[in-house]
Every structure is written in C-alpha cells, then in structure tokens.
Amino acid sequence: MFSEWAWLIPALPALSVLIIVFSGRALPWKGAEVGIVALLASLGLSLGVAWEVFSHNAGVTQGIGPAGDADAAPAGAEAFLLERGLTLTPLGGDLAVELGMRVDGLAAMMFVLVTAVSLMVHIYSTGYMHGDARYTYFFALLSLFSFSMLLLVIASDLLVLLVGWELVGICSYLLIGFWWEDKHNQDASIKAFLTTKLGDVGLVVGIMALAGMFGTFSIQGVLDGVAAGDHSQALLTFALLALILGAVGKSAQFPLHTWLPDAMAGPTPVSALIHAATMVTAGVFIVARLFPAYQAAPVAQGTLAIIGAITLVMAGLLALVQTDLKRVLAYSTVSQLGYMMAALSFSYVAGVFHLFTHGFFKALLFLGAGSVIHAAHSNHMTEMGGLRRVMPVTFWTFLAGSLALIAIPPLAGFWSKDEILVAALEAGGYTGTVVLVLGALGGLITAFYMTRALYLVFAGEFRGHGHPHESEPAMTAPLIALAIPAVAIGWINLPFPALQPLSLSSWVMFDVDYWVANPVELNAVIAVIATVLALAGVLAARAIYREAPERDPLLHLGLLTHVLQRRYYLDDLYTDLIARTAVRDKLAPAAVWFSDRVLDGAVYWSGRGTYELGQGLYATGDQRGIDGAVNGLGLSALWSGARMRLAQSGNVQLYAGALFIGVFVLAVVFASGA
C-alpha cells in the first residue's frame, strides 16, 4: 500500500526544489520550511514503506523459523519486491529503459536513512546557515540533493541510477564550493568532482558491459541474467570490477579517497548529509543492490575485501595526525566505508547494517562538530578545548556518537562492526583473514583517534579566542534526535537467532534462500576481542591526552608523522605528478598540438590542397590543356591555311600545269583500269 506511493519519496523533494527556486525568497523562512515539510512528508512515507516491507518480510521469515528450517518456508514466499515503472524504448528495438521504482528492503532502509538524516540536516541548517547570503540557494540544493539521492535509491534501472549518481555528484560539487569566494573551496569542489568523475568512468563502463551482456539496463534483468548463468564469467567480473571503480570514487576508497578530506571545505551540514551518511554510501549501495551478481563473481567480491581492508587501515592512521576536527571525521568516514566495502565481500547484511548505523552516528558527529566549530569559530582542535562545560548538549551527543563509532557495546556501532568481523571470520580464506585482522586493528585505531578528538575538543581549558557558548536549539535539537538512533539503532539487528526474523536482516532480505543460509550470529570471542581492543585504544588515548591535550605526541613522531601528514604523498602524486606534470604540462599540450596541427592541419591542408589542385588544374588543365586545344585548333587552321595559300601563287601557268598533272593521273588510272 505505501510502497505503491514510494515514488513520492523522491518526488516531494523535487517539488520542493522547484518551489524554493521560484518562490523561496519570498517565504517567511526563506524556503527552509518548504524543504523541511517535504522531507518530513518523505520521511513519513519512508517509514510507512519500511513498515510494509518489514511486516511482509518478517511474515516470511517468521514462517521459516529461526535460522534454519528452509522447508518450513511457506511455499512460494518471496522477499518483498515491488517494481513499477514505464518502459521506454527510445532507440526502438531491443534496448529498453525503465523509468521506474524498485522497492525492496534495501531501498526501504535507504529511504529511512536518507530522509531522516536529511531532515535533521535541514533543521540544523536553519541555525547553522542563518544569515548566509545564499540561504535559500542552500536549501534548494539540499532538496535537490535529497531528490537525487532518493532517485538513485529508488531506481529500478541502471541508467536512472546513473542519472541519480551524477546528480548527487553535481550537488556535492555545488555544495562543497558553496562559499566559492574562497579559492580553496573552489579547488576542493573541483577536486571532489573530478576524482569521483574518474570513478564514474568505471561505473559507466560497468553499466554498459552489464547491459551488453544481458541486453537490459534494469536491475532485475541483470540479476535474472546472472542467475540464468550463461554469460561469460570473465566479462561479468570485468563489469563488476568496473562498477567497483565507480564505487571507489564515490565512496572515497583507496586510491580515490583524496577528495573527501578536502571536501570538508563545505559547510558542516553538507558534510554531515553528503559526506557522511548519503552520497558516499552510494558506492556501497550499488554493490549491495547487485549483491547476487557479486556473489557470482568471486574475484570481484574478493577485490572489495582488499580495497576495503586497505582503506580502513590507511584512513584510520591518517586520522591520527589531523588537527582539523572535520578532517578527523572525514578520515573516519573513509575508514568506516572501507569496513562496509569489506563487509560486502562476505555478507550482505553486515555491510548494509553498518551502512545504516554509521549513517546516523556519523551524521550526528558531523553536526556536533559543526556546533563546536560554530562556537569556537575555528575548525582546529588546537584552538578548542574545555567545551564540555559550556556546551553540554553538544558534548553528550558527541560522546554518544563517538562511543557508537568506537563500537563500545551496547551502542549501535558495536553491533554492526562486530557483524563485519564475524562475517570475515566465517568466510575465512585469505581475504577473510586480512579483513578480520585489519578490521580489528582498525577498531583500535578508531578508538584512539576518536578519544583523542574528544579530549582535545572537550577536555582541558579553552585554547581559542572568544567565548564559546552552546548552540541554538535549531542545532541542538537534531543532535539529540540523532543521538537516539546512534545509541539504539544497533538493537534492530541483534545477532540472536530468535530475534532474526524481526531484525534488520529480515527487513533488508533480498532472497529467502540467502537469508536462510546466512544467519546473523554472535561470536563471543570476536566480540570480546574487539571490545578489548577498543577499550585499549580509549585508555591509551586517555592516558596521553587527559592531562595536557595540547601536547600531542602524535605530531612529533618524526618520519611517521610526516608521512601521515603528507597523506602518504598520495595527494602529491595525484596533484603534482599526475595532474600537473603529466596531464597539464605534457598530455594537454600534446593534445592541443595534435588538435591544432594534425586535425586542424588536415582540415586546412585538405582545403588548401583542393584549392592548390584547383589552381594547378586551372593553370595546366584549363589554360594550357583545354584552351591550348581550342586555340590550337584555330592556330592550326591558320597555320595550315598559311601553308596552303602558298599554292595560290598567282602563276596561271602553274595552275594549268596542275590541271595537266591531274589529267595525267586520270589517264594513268584509266589506262591501268582498262
């Protein structure tokens, strides 16, 4: 019932964009109210859809019983899937494009996440962006972004998903560079756009390869084609690897992660919405959408693990040496996205669950950071400190988010991160072991840098200028609102078999058989070890930073610090070596030369050549040849006439003589003839 109207979920923000663009400025809240109302409606509808999907799927899984008895499933029971749409064949013939929606558990989950976080960000922004010259424009962009992300989620067709994907890219570009008067922000937005665009090359190639293989762009068509099985394994792996490239770009995985920390140049609500909870999860989302395909291509799935593992450790280490609070959170996001990618290599539910929980508590952390930055008028933790006393709401909510991130039980992050480690353990093999080890290590690092941030921001004495104070209710209310899921949302997927049919795993179930075969389990050993590591990290950081937060030993570790601060020299590699030296100084001039000399030259010389040919033809062919022939005819007539007139000597006797010769000849002829 609700799901029939699911198309309204992206449509309402789209409508709000139009209203804000055309009449936002005239409204009392300058357009913000339109966005908030639209998102509120979308959220309501999303919850309705979520409820519908959940109740259906739970009905199915409850019929099966806890984790096991596949035969007990009601015959013909399927996971919830609603597809509606218009099929267009713009090119006629075989290739069809579906403008439609695909509502299943994963989509429902994403709806809730996106609309909820977006709504919180809208409310937060009324406070944070208050007084900004482009306030209405900001809200228009927020609504546009919400529409784009929801479009991406709801799409039943890979092409429509691509449209949504590119739209969120544009919104990201516009929002990062929102304060474009500062060139630094412009550079950051361009960097973000181009880096993700590089990944988009892979995405497009992958989509085209899939469409080519299965003859359709629709997701269901692709999944059916994969299930049918008569496709080239190599080609499928290639297509999925190409899609992974797109995901790597959008979700800021290694090696295309460099744009995300720089994207922090945008307003903090933007960071919270786009670069924590939604846009960056698009990459994870597309992998999850095509999960059955990835199951059929183990090489691609294994690649996910490797990329995720590398990213999560690498980014975690980078977060250790940041002094900018938002950058700490940015690297943390990159790291957590690495967890999600690695998780999808082993378990659908693990990855999706972590996506869901992370969205909430990372958004919370960013909004809290925004509140802190707003108060301290600086991004740098070196100019903060002691804010616990003056900003209690911010402090407690931030603490809740941090604990969730650090994965302290029973907060949300614990359950989802633990899930990942368990899945890695169960998968085993080379990739499983790597992810397990690095994931656990990552937990330690995460704990350390988040505790460090906590101490640097909230403990000790205020090291900055001015008098910080708590933020206005418009900003603190969303913090409180988000703190609730940060704490509690993990409880919807507790790894106890009895609760499984009523948990998130059942909610996002895409295939009953898969659900039955992959139950969520609790592994006490892993849980304990992970928690121990996390606590170890917390305590270590506490020990270092509690007393004198400003004296940061991490910044004085010589070479290690240097490498980390230079971000493994990757930025230098990309910017200087690749972008500047190779492309700008070598490739681009070469391309220009080629275009000017070779291509333009070819055109020019073909024209010039034709001209010269024409000239030459005219000179020789026409002037000499044809005119010569014509003139020659006349001249030859003159010449022959001049020669022949010599016979007219005027000498009459000569004429007579000629006559006689003629007679002579005739006589001879007659004589011989006769």
Partner: protein, 207 residues
C-alpha cells in the same frame, strides 16, 4: 613502206620539229611562222589519212585565219620584236609535265595500238557533206551559232568605250591614263598598275 608513207613520215617529222620550235623560239614572230609550218604539216597528214576536205579546211581556217589573227594580236599587244627570253621560271616544271605526258601517251599508244592499222581510203566530200548536213545537222547549226556568238563576244570584249584615250603606252607614263581608263571600264580588273606600267616599259627595251 611505200613512197606515200615516207612522205607521211617526213610530214610528221617536219611537223614535230616545227611544233617544238614554236614553243621554244625566242622571237615571237618566228614562233608564229613555225606555227604555220606545223599546221601545214598537219594538213598534209590529213591528206595522207584520207581526210581531204579537212586538210583544205585546216589550211583555210588555221593557217589562213587563225595565224593571221595571232599575228595581229602580236602586233596590237606590242609584242617585243627581236629575240628575247620568252620562258619563265616554270620551265623545269613544264618540261617535266610535258615530258611525262609525252612518255605516257607514247607508252599507251604503243601498248594499245601497236598492231593497229589505219584505213587511208579517202572519204568523199559528197559523203562528208551529206553526213554533216543530215546526221549532224543539229550540232552543225549549234556550231554556227557558237561561232556567231563568239564573234559578237570578241567584238564586245575588244571594243573601246567612248572617251577612252589612246593606248596606254603612246606616252611613256601612260599608266595614269590607263588607270583612269581601267577605272571607268566595266571590266573585272582591280588596280595597282605600277608593276604593269613598269613591266611594259621594261618589256620594250629589255633583253
């Protein structure tokens, strides 16, 4: 070969020699007189070949009238008296053509008529007259008509118009008057008289 034949051969030789002399004589009057001899030899050959009437008609017409006419013509056109070169630059050409023609003719004659004989029985004048006036009456009339017409024609051509002056070289530069005469005449002539006058002057005294 009988005596008449010998006479005939003699007539042929004489006639041939005279003909050659006609065309090679330096003195125009001598040429005219040689012509007389040649024509008389022709008449003799007619006699021998049995065409008596023709022989006398030949003498009458040609020797009697034509040669006289020619002599008058020589006189009226102030033909140079005395020997002078009478041949022009066509000489070699003329020799070639006439020589070739002669050779050809002789060859053909000998080849074709080498064995033939001529019947020399004389034709009676009465028979000739009868044939002429009965069978050939119409051509004969036409011939008479032709002669009349040519007579009139010659008269008309040679007539001098009223007001024409004396013959051009009564005076030494008579060319101007000759020009004026020429301009007034309805003749088919166009102009430059200077070469003509000069030549006329040269002709008189030139070698």
């Amino acid at each position: 070969m009988s005596i008449p034949d010998l006479f005939m051969l003699g007539a042929f030789v004489l006639g041939g020699a005279a003909a050659l002399l006609v065309v090679t004589a330096r003195n125009v009057v001598h040429a005219a007189l040689y012509l007389v001899i040649a024509l008389v030899a022709v008449a003799a050959s007619f006699l021998w070949m049995g065409a008596e009437f023709l022989a006398w008609a030949q003498v009458l017409v040609y020797v009697g009238a034509v040669v006289v006419l020619i002599l008058f013509g020589l006189m009226l056109t102030r033909a140079p008296i005395g020997p002078m070169a009478q041949h022009n630059e066509n000489r070699k050409f003329a020799v070639a053509v006439s020589g070739g023609l002669f050779v050809l003719l002789v060859t053909v004659i000998v080849a074709t008529f080498g064995d033939a004989t001529v019947d020399v029985t004389p034709v009676r004048v009465a028979d000739l007259g009868e044939v002429l006036y009965v069978q050939w009456a119409f051509p004969f009339m036409v011939l008479g008509f032709l002669l009349t017409v040519s007579l009139i024609g010659a008269l008309v051509l040679a007539r001098r118009e009223e007001g024409e002056g004396p013959l051009p070289d009564d005076t030494d530069e008579g060319s101007d008057q000759g020009l004026e005469d020429a301009a007034q005449e309805p003749g088919p002539s166009d102009v430059t008289s200077a070469p003509g006058a000069g030549d006329a002057g040269q002709q008189i005294g030139a070698p």
